[in-house]
Each structure stands twice: as C-alpha cells, then as structure tokens.
Amino acid sequence: MKQVDRCKMKLISFTVNGTDVKVEISASDRLIDVLRDKLRLTGTKEGCGIGECGACTVIMNGVPVNSCLVPAFQAEGSVIETVEGLEQSGKLHPLQEAFVDHAAIQCGFCTPGMLMSALALLRENPHPTREEIARAISGNLCRCTGYHQIIEAIEDASMRMDPTE
C-alpha cells in the first residue's frame, strides 16, 4: 500500500470564485485564514470563531459552511465561492441588487455571509417561502436589521432570478 502523506505544511490547490489557486497551508490554518490572510479576500468576515454567527459563511462544494470551522486542508480540491464572486463583470448579482433595494443592510458585517447562505438556498430552492428563507439564514446572526428586510430581499431576489414564476 502506498504511504499516506503526513503533512505539517502543504501546498494545496482549489478553486475560488472560478479561479484555480495554490496556497501553502499549515495543519492549524482554517479556511477563513486562507481566504482572508493569504488570498486577501477580506469580504468574508470573522465574528465569533466558533460557527455561531455565520459571518464567515462561504459556499463549499455547493453547500454553505462556516469557514472558521473548516480546516484548510479539507479545502484541497474543493470549489469555494465567496461574496467577491457574486458580482460578474461589474454587474451586481440579483441578490445583491435586492439587498440594496430593500435596505437589507445596516452595518454590513453580516451581509457577505448572509448573501452566501441566501445564494445556496436559492440555487436548490428557487422559490422558497418566507419560513424557508428564515430557516436558511438562521445560522447568520444580524444585530442591526431584525432580519425582516433581509427576508424581503431574498424573496424578491428569487423572483428576479427566475421571472418565469
């Protein structure tokens, strides 16, 4: 049997917002550290470090995760999406548009994570009910907005993204 690698540091490669990246990581690095410190993608925020606030939410292989609770080595070969990937060639994503239009932002610190949870939801459930929206963002704490305008924005975005319904 082939010897399995024991790594302290390792050069890993994965995809971020459609771009292939290679980063040297250590065993104690978390995905959020790689994104913020090594790749300088600072849109992803850290609020608690224990997966309770959701400010660090990114989409990993299609599902929303707390990047503060993902060991960086598990990112190898994965597909990661962060808030920086939403805008395409200078055009806001419909979710971003809806957040802007519905005043769904106050201090903005939870916003990137909130957008990623919302995006993950709308991809698998293009027309969620308000309750489904609330559940989908229940792991993203917001202290400013009381959530109502965020939920309205996500509901509106679902219609903008799929106007056929």
Partner: protein, 784 residues
C-alpha cells in the same frame, strides 16, 4: 443657525428627503469591498494581544515579561510602564487604566500586551508572562456595595457611589397619604452585551506625517478616541488623527473600550515605530467590553380609586462595575425619565451609580431607559390590576398631553405631544383591547396560552443637559458639480451617511449620487462630540442643512448670472437650477459649479448646529432636561407555553413619532432591529458573571435572536414634524429597543397570570417564577 423655531416645510415638495432611497454605502457592503478595520494591512505591521486579569480584584505582586519578550516573533511586551502620558482614561473621570499597574478591578483589565510579528506568535507568548497575584476581597452585589460600611473599591467614594441624582417634585409623603391604593414593587434587569457582530479592532500607524499618530478603527466616536489616545501618549490633540473605518455595529458599545484599544495600539506603535493592529476575539470582546447596566429598581406608587396617580417614589441602584465610564450620563437619563410619560404631582426619585468588581457598564442603545421603562411599564399594568382598570385606560388617564408638566417640572411645549396617538395606533394594530379582555378571562394552567401587552415611553432627544451639544458638517462642491460631505458624526451602520446625503441633496438641489460621504477624520472636521443619544439626524442633519444653505447661496448667485434673474427667483432640485416661475429655464448644477469655480467662488462651507438651551438643577432634579421629546409605543401578542416556560412572540406593532421620516426604508430598519434587540432583552439575553468571572463568552451562550425568532412586526411611522430638526425630523434609534421587554412581561401576565419582575423572562422564570441559572444568585423580587 441655532435651534430656534423654523417653518416646517411642506412634505409634498420633497425630492430626496422623505423617500426610501438606496443606502449610499450599500454597494460597497454587498460586494465585500467595504473595508472594516481588520481588512486593512500596513507594511511591517505588528499584532498586539492582551493578557487580562486572572482575578477580578487582586493585587499584582510581580509582573515578569522577560520570557515572553524572548519568545519567537515577539518584538516587545507593553505594560503600564511604557505609557508615556496619562495612565487612565474615561469620558467623565479618567479612572480606567489602559494597563493596570498595582491591582486588577475586574476580569477584563489589561495587565500586559505582547506585540509580535503574527497574531499567533503574540497569542503563544501570552502564556510566558508570569504574574503573581494576591486576591483581594471583592464586591459583586450592587446592594451590598451600596450599603453602610461596605468595602470601598475606590478611595473617596463612600458606599461606592459613583454618582447620585435626586429628583424632587411636590411632596410624596402627602401624595401617598392622599392615595387610595399604594403598590411597592422591586424590578431588576440583567447585564447586556451589545453583541455587534464585528469585534473591536484598531490599528495605530506611527509617523505618517512627521510625528502624527494615525488611528484606524472600529470607533463609534472618533473625537473621544482621539482625546484618549492623545492623553495616553501625552501629546496635543492635533498630533493624533483618528479615521473611522466601516463599523460592524456598535449600539453605543465601541466607545471607551475601543479608546483603550486605540491607546494600547498607539503606545505599542510609538515604542516599536511600526503599525500595530489589535483585533479582539469574541471571547475577549465579551470579557473586556462594557455592558448595559443591570439595575435594581424599587418603585412605590400611589393612586386614587379612580386611577389618578398621585405620587411615585423611585430608588435605583445601577451596577457600574469598577470604572465611572458613562455611568453618570446613563443614570442621568434614568432620573429624568424614571416615572415615565405620566403626569404625577408628587415625585421623589434617587438614582445611584455604584462601583462593584463586575464588568464595567456604560453606553448602550437605550442609555438608561430600557431598565426604567421595564420597571415603570410593568408597574403601570400592576397598578391597573390593583385598581381593576384596563391598562390602556390607566395610561390614557395619566399620560402626557400638550402642555403637561414632567417630573422635572418641564412644560411639554414647542413640539407635538403625541403619546395618546402612538398608544392608540400601536394597540389598535394588534387588537389589544378586545384581546386583553378575552385572554384575561381564560387562563388555563396548562398548554399554550396567548396574551397581549404594551409599553409606552417619552424620550428626550439628543444629549440634553448631559453636556455640550453641537455638530459640524463640511460640505464642499467640486468644479465638476460633485460633492464631498464630511461630518463630525459617524456612520455606525445605522444609515447616517445616507440620511445626511439626502438632506444635503435636498437642500442643495444636486443629485444624491453626486455626493460622496467621507469617513469621519478628526483632522478634517471640528470636534462634534459623540454619535450617540439618537442625535445624528436632529443635530447632524441640522448642520448638514446649514452647510448646504450656505453653499447654495453662493451657487444661486452664480446661477442668477447664467439665467439672468435675481438669486431669489431661483430654485434647485434634481441636479438643476431653474427659475421658480419658469422651470423650463434652467441650468445644470454642474455647469453652475464650473462657472462658480472659474469665478473663484468659495463653494464650500462649514455647517454648525447647536442645540437649544437646556437646564438642570443637580440638587432638586428640576429643569428643562431636553429641548424636545419623542413618543413611542409597542404592543405585542405572545404565546406562553405553560408547561415549558417558552414564550413565543407572535406579533409586534411599533408606533414611533419620528417628527419626519428622512428615509422611511432605513427608518423601518431601525424599528425592526430595535424590536429584535428589545425581544432579546426581554427573553433571551444575559451575560452571566460568577463572582466577577464572565461565564458567557461567545455567541453559543450569549443568545441573540435569529431569523427564526423574530416576530411579525408592524412598523407604524408617526410624523409630527418638530421645529428643531431638519425638515421636522427627530430621533428613532433608541426608542425602538426600550419598549418590548415590558410589553412582553405585561403580555405574559395577560396570558397566564404570572408577573415576572426580573429580566430576562427565560424558560425557568416563566415556568417557576425564578431563575435557575447556576451562575448567579437570586436578585430583586426573587429574594422573597
């Protein structure tokens, strides 16, 4: 311009103001481009990590940092001995050390700070600092601390009294004699964390322009931070430049504690000659940062049989922790408003701030009002019950009207006293009157039952007789017609940049998108005090309008030549200047700017707004405390699970008189957010201390409402334009979070007949009537 009477504009003519325009900072925030403090890096930047106290109250016998200094990556270890200027800071009294020297006073005290090449290296070296302590007797109970003969935590503060505010009106003894019913009740509230999602952060960059120390940070009040950093460095104010970064929430919280962090970073930057960044972990944030004061409140009320309140006596102890911080200001608002929006001929109120070894307390959204409103609005329902009256009737009978006299003897005039209007609108929206009667009749002891309740308040706008109340704005039109706006007040997430830009665009007639609102920079704009007390729109908005008017005058003069009419025939809107009676005759705003520039006109102005005069007599508690007031009412329907103690908030109607809604969309955001925070105060939140040790350290234990907890909210915006504010606007941020806790307590009583006088109404209190939290002793009414 001063705060005199001014004609209130006709709402229908507004072009920008009173419309739900997009937030001006929205695009940066949805794209991740907005730069929060921790998103910034500087060349050769170092990282500071603080070693905190091991015991809440202990002598430091020895502090040995040598081993830590030798650890890999460590550049130096900073202690009190490195502080070149003042050792301690504080908004009222400089009694909070940036680094403690001889003893610790609470668990969050900073003993030393490791400065290293990476945060991890700094963190690892913390364990190498050796501190020898001798534990000292400590006080954690506010009533014990305030008693005769109690251990004194500070010299010259007998009974640990930080401050005492008396208020005397009429004669309460006579009042109680004339009363048919007298109730005495004790209410208590808990220690509350601001829970901004972005933890505190600051970066000090030395020597940017000569010997100026530049501070970037998550700073609610840049001028306060500057004052503290300058005093700690021992330099003049102009040697410190504070630039506010995008703020990840504050709610009153990023003031003293952030000043301390800025000062620590500055001391380290001075010593190392390199930029130093400090970012708190959530645990550090909860342990060090100040909180909302827990209050113990003893109320006595007397009323006649027909429901007229004759006398009220109030005795309040506010737990200040070991430092003065904002306690004197917070408790002052409490003494003004303690008896609520009711006409009471005889009042005796005493509010004390008391030192203890608990986490220190200071400013938080509400600022001394959520506590007293919980007590006074619970008491109103209890009194109604005692009188056999409907709580709504009782409040309307005693509530303020136009010309009523407050407890401090102030006649309510010069603005619309809209108490009855907000009460009726909020209670009608949830069908209070009908439901209250139905639910009160049917109270099964098992299963899920419903109840309704409400609470109402009046609230003084801005600082009041607390302190200097003036704000500056710098508005500068560029040669191409674009506009810079600098304000002395700061965006904390609430939407100030948007509201100020709207006011500027409205007044100047330029397009909203042509305005860029710069982050607050203390080297650009005059000291405008703090962004607190829901004063931004009234005070800051006034200064924006003042600046815009000055610039407009210059531009109209330029435009008058281009249009061949006199300046007073011109109006401006939507990026055009036109002849009033002939709107087709117009010139573009940008062409006016261009012409003005070529003519050498000054197209910039400093706007200033000074609050109208207020008065206060410290001995009697009498005076004109605030220049105007806002009125609010929140009504709620809840479902109580009698078998588990779970309270579910079903629906909230929130009616707030805001004078004028500058931006109805962001205003609703303030209401929704305040309601969620008020719900947390009522049901969920509490920082637990066990003999001064913080037990609640992160968001797994400090529970704030999630998207699945918040109820349906009906925001009701009441507009009675106020002569003092821009376009009639006044305040909304704080009233929205001060009402729901007592409304819920009243609704729980309506549902199941249990009166809970201690916050929060958690599972155990609702089921058993007392708290079972392991960490904390019984308090208030739970002692019996």
């Amino acid at each position: 311009m001063s705060g005199g009477m001014e004609a209130i504009d006709n709402m229908s003519s507004f072009k920008v103001v009173n419309h739900p325009v997009r937030r001006v900072d929205a695009i940066a925030k949805v794209t991740g481009r907005a730069k929060f403090t921790d998103d910034l890096t500087f060349d050769r930047m170092l990282y500071g990590r603080v070693l905190r106290a091991k015991y809440p109250h202990a002598k430091i016998l020895e502090l040995d940092t040598r081993k830590a200094e030798e650890a890999p990556g460590v550049v130096c270890v900073i202690t009190y001995a490195d502080v070149p200027g003042a050792q301690a800071i504080g908004p009222v009294r400089p009694d909070m050390p940036v680094f403690v020297s001889t003893k610790t006073m609470y668990l969050g005290d900073a003993v030393a700070m490791v400065v290293a090449e990476t945060p991890e290296m700094a963190e690892q070296a913390l364990d190498l600092i050796r501190v020898e302590y001798e534990e000292l007797p400590a006080i954690y109970d506010v009533e014990e601390a305030a008693s005769e003969g109690a251990l004194e935590l500070h010299e010259d503060y007998p009974r640990n009294i930080v401050n005492h505010y008396p208020l005397r009106k009429g004669n309460v003894e006579e009042g109680f004699k004339a009363s048919d019913i007298i109730l005495e009740r004790t209410y208590t509230t808990q220690l509350i964390e601001h829970a901004y999602i972005e933890p505190e952060a600051a970066i000090a960059v030395p020597g940017v322009a000569g010997d100026i120390m530049t501070i970037y940070g998550s700073i609610q009040n840049p001028f306060t931070a500057r004052r503290h950093v300058a005093s700690v460095l021992g330099v003049s104010l102009n040697k410190v430049r504070v630039v506010q970064c995008t703020m990840g929430g504050s709610f009153g919280g990023k003031d003293d504690v952030v000043s301390a962090i800025c000062a620590r970073a500055a001391v380290a930057a001075l010593k190392t000659g390199r930029p130093v960044k400090i970012v708190h972990t959530r645990e550090e944030s909860i342990i060090e940062s100040y909180k909302r004061h827990p209050y113990v409140m003893k109320y006595k009320v007397g009323a006649t049989r027909d429901g007229k309140i004759v006398a009220m006596e109030v005795y309040i102890l506010a737990d200040a922790g070991p430092y003065s911080s904002m306690t004197p200001f917070v408790t002052w608002r409490s003494v003004v408003q303690a008896t609520g929006p009711y006409e009471i001929p005889n009042v005796k109120t005493d509010v004390y701030g008391i030192f203890t070894n608990n986490t220190y307390t200071g400013a938080m959204r509400g600022f001394g009002s959520p506590q007293i409103i919980f007590a006074q609005e619970s008491l109103m329902d209890e009194l109604a019950e005692g009188l056999g009256m409907d709580p709504l009737e009782l409040r309307l009978l005693n509530g303020f009207r136009q010309g009523s006299v407050t407890a401090s003897g102030q006649v309510l005039e010069g603005h619309t006293v809209s108490l009855e209007e907000v009460i009726r609108k909020a209670t009608d929206a949830i069908g209070y009157s009908e439901k209250w009667k139905t639910y009160a009749k049917n109270r099964p002891a098992k299963g899920k039952v419903r109840g309704v309740g409400f609470a109402t308040s009046y609230r003084g706008v801005s600082l009041g007789a607390e302190g200097v109340d003036a704000v500056a704005t710098l508005l500068s039109v560029q040669p191409d017609g674009s506009v810079y706006l600098h304000s002395g007040l700061a965006e904390n997430g609430q939407g100030l940049k948007t509201v100020f830009s709207q006011i500027a665009a409205e007044e100047l007639g330029c397009k909203l998108e042509d305005i860029v609102f710069m982050d607050t920079d203390t080297s650009v704009i005059p000291d405008s005090g703090a962004t607190v007390a829901s004063r931004s729109t009234t005070m800051g908005g006034g200064s924006v309008r003042n600046a815009a008017k000055k610039v407009k005058e210059v531009l109209f003069e330029v435009a008058s030549k281009l249009l061949n009419v006199s300046p007073d025939e011109i109006e401006a809107a939507d990026g055009k200047m036109y002849v009033k009676d002939e709107p087709g005759r117009s010139v573009d705003f940008k062409d006016v700017a261009k012409a003005g520039y070529s003519e050498g006109k000054l197209m910039a102005a400093l706007g200033w707004y000074h609050a109208p005069k207020v008065t206060w007599d410290e001995e009697t508690g009498q005076g004109k405390a605030y220049f105007t007031y806002v009125y609010g009412c929140q009504a709620v329907e809840v479902e109580v699970d009698c078998d588990t103690g779970k309270v579910k908030v079903l629906k909230v109607a929130a009616a707030h008189d805001v004078g004028r809604a500058i931006n109805p969309a962001t205003l609703k955001g303030q209401i929704y957010g305040g309601v969620a925070m008020g719900m947390g105060y009522g049901l969920l939140e509490e920082v637990e201390l066990q003999k001064g040790i913080t037990k609640t350290r992160n968001f797994d234990e400090y529970i704030i409402a999630t998207s699945m907890d918040v109820p349906e909210v009906i925001p009701i915006i009441v507009e009675n334009p106020d002569s003092h504010g821009p376009y009639g606007a006044k305040a909304v941020a704080e009233p929205t979070c001060e009402l729901l806790a007592p409304a819920i307590a009243n609704a729980v009583y309506n549902a199941c007949g249990k009166r809970i006088r201690d916050l929060p109404l958690d599972l155990e209190r609702v089921l058993l009537g007392r708290s079972l939290r392991a960490a904390r002793g019984k308090r208030g009414s739970e002692q019996s």
